[in-house]
Amino acid sequence: MVNIELVPNPATIKEIIEESRDVKSFVLEYVEPKSMNARPGQFIEVSVQGYGEATFAVTRTAQSGKEFTISVKRIGHLTKILHRSAEGDIIGVRGPYGNSFPVSEWHGKSIVIIGGGIGLAPLRPVIDHIVEHRKEFGDLEIIFGARSPADILYKEDLKKWEQDKGVKLYTTIDVPFEGWNGRVGLVPVVVKDLAVKADDKIAVVCGPPIMIKFTVAALKELGWPHDRIYTTLEMKMQCGIGQCGRCNIGEKFICKDGPVFSLDQIPTYAL
């Protein structure tokens, strides 16, 4: 019997968490005892029988390695089907794939995490890692932008991070909203307003392509060198192992050479 990489393994939906009006998190566990050893930034391929497969970042893994979580925004064919599923349902999972954030290379440095919308999902394991290994890192700043208060994800985590003395959290929404007393403004604008200094820090950016583009431009304006800005890119992916062809940017496959890149590793035309 050969092991065909593209054939998924069954996993049970243990828990469904309503994160926002169109995002649900799914806590999963393989049916056959098997652990998910995803490093921060890695992704998995998730399928619903007979409907197809799509790519999701692993947004949290339990210490035991047994339970792992994905966050799914209802936006296309498969995500709609996933949103209709219930706890106890079985879906298909394969992975983890791709490279990861080089967190151990960042020891001793302060980290700025900048997330837009569902772009916070692949960044959450980075935050978890830093919070768990607090002594290894300098300060942690988190800038998180959502379209509106109803689009804010991971509310419990945000509360926890806000109370953590070692964390500075800035949550912003795109446009003013009744009842919202917090910060208002697009992420790149907030980055400029806060005048986030480069010093010896590392910036980690993820969000919709347009948000990444302008946030990176804002950081560059603030004097950030390319090799200290990291992002995780998204292209249409299918195989996850650098063979099906579609996720290339130039000669690089996002699924295999990425999805994590520092800015100096990305061809200029990609952004």
């Binding site: 054939v7 007979g50 298909g92 063979q243 062809g245």
Partner: protein, 347 residues
């Protein structure tokens, strides 16, 4: 160097029938005017064309539609992976460009930690019996791609036509058992070496192609390309695929199907974001992938000069012409820079 063995033309069928006892034997047959590989049938007339076989051998190793696993819809994902074929197989009559294409596929499917198990199994059970070309079609241009019509590189056994028969030579351990036949006789004869002309499709270096990314030429080229994708299906090195789950009467199947970067839906994501929306961006992707990205990835450009894309293009503009047009632009640009910076001539 292993010795050459001769086979009399009259013994060809006996030899092949003997091989067919142990191996599945695939040979070129003419189907509706087009050459393609098909299982050997001793009742059919046999002939080995001296140049390109129209339908690429790609689909014998990497079929158009490839089932990976089946599942029962009612059950809780009881997935059953397919079992790859194991019977040893000979593909006979491949040309040097076909073998170069297979060597490229090996790089795509076998180079990573996640090997394609089905491709690997197909490759393992297949013995490549190549034939040196005796002629070049007017679409052939392997000589423009650093290959030669009489190169045996990558073959397990090589053979060539002579006046009254064939000469065979084994080149690998896998190929040696094929030549243990009473119909073959060791000889000191050797195939003649020949000079081959260049084709019409010379191209610039991968580095020069990379510099053309932001050039306006892609818009001009997309005016002469339908982005229909037929060149990608016929190309021996285009192996992009789609992973799909198909459901029929309660039974499910996971399959891979050939896909093409020339088609509009290829890179479109959920939510509609598409990084290669315009025909120009798709023409650029394929041209650069053939002549530059492939070289950066695997150290081998992914054009073998087989000329199939020239034959099938509905606009008769054909893919290698795109490469040639970009190359012309590169040369002209260089010439213009040279002229502009050259010291003025004295009267």
């Amino acid at each position: 160097m292993n010795k050459w063995h001769e086979l009399k033309a009259a013994d060809l069928k006996n030899f092949l029938s003997q091989l067919a006892d142990k191996w599945q034997v695939w040979v070129p047959y003419r189907n509706d005017g087009k050459w393609e590989f098909a299982p050997y049938d001793e009742r059919r007339e046999l002939e080995f064309p001296g140049s390109v076989i129209h339908v690429s051998v790609k689909q014998l190793l990497f079929p158009k539609r490839r089932p990976l696993a089946t599942y029962d819809e009612e059950s809780t994902w009881s997935v059953k992976s397919v079992t790859p074929g194991e019977k040893p197989r000979i593909i006979m009559g491949l040309h040097p460009c076909d073998v170069a294409g297979i060597s490229y596929m090996d790089k795509v499917f076998l180079r990573t930690e996640h090997k394609d198990a089905l491709y690997e199994a197909e490759r393992k059970r297949t013995v490549l019996v190549g034939m040196l070309c005796t002629e070049m079609e007017k679409t052939c241009h392997c000589t423009d791609r650093g290959l030669a019509p009489d190169s045996a590189q990558g073959m397990d056994v090589v053979f060539t036509r002579t006046e009254d028969g064939y000469l065979f030579q084994s080149l690998s351990e896998k190929g040696a058992p094929l030549l243990e036949s009473e119909y073959l006789r060791a000889t000191d004869d050797k195939p003649d070496k020949k000079e081959w002309p260049h084709g019409k499709y010379e191209i610039a270096s991968p580095e020069e192609f990379m510099e053309m990314y932001d050039d306006g030429i892609w818009h001009e080229l997309s005016d002469i390309c339908l982005t229909c994708g037929i060149c990608t299906y016929e190309c021996p090195t285009c192996v992009c695929f789609l992973v799909a789950d198909e459901k029929f009467k309660g039974k499910g199947e996971r399959v891979t199907v050939w896909d093409s970067c020339q088609l509009q839906s290829y890179s479109r994501m959920a939510g509609g974001h598409d990084t290669r929306k315009t025909p120009a961006s798709r023409v650029r992707n394929r041209t650069l992938d053939k002549f530059a990205y492939s070289h950066l990835r695997y150290g081998q450009i992914s054009c073998t000069g087989c000329g199939r894309c020239v034959m099938v293009c509905p606009l008769k503009r054909s893919f290698p012409q795109l490469g040639t047009r970009v190359t012309e632009r590169i040369r002209n640009k260089k010439k213009m820079t040279r002229d502009a910076t050259a010291p003025a001539k004295e009267d």
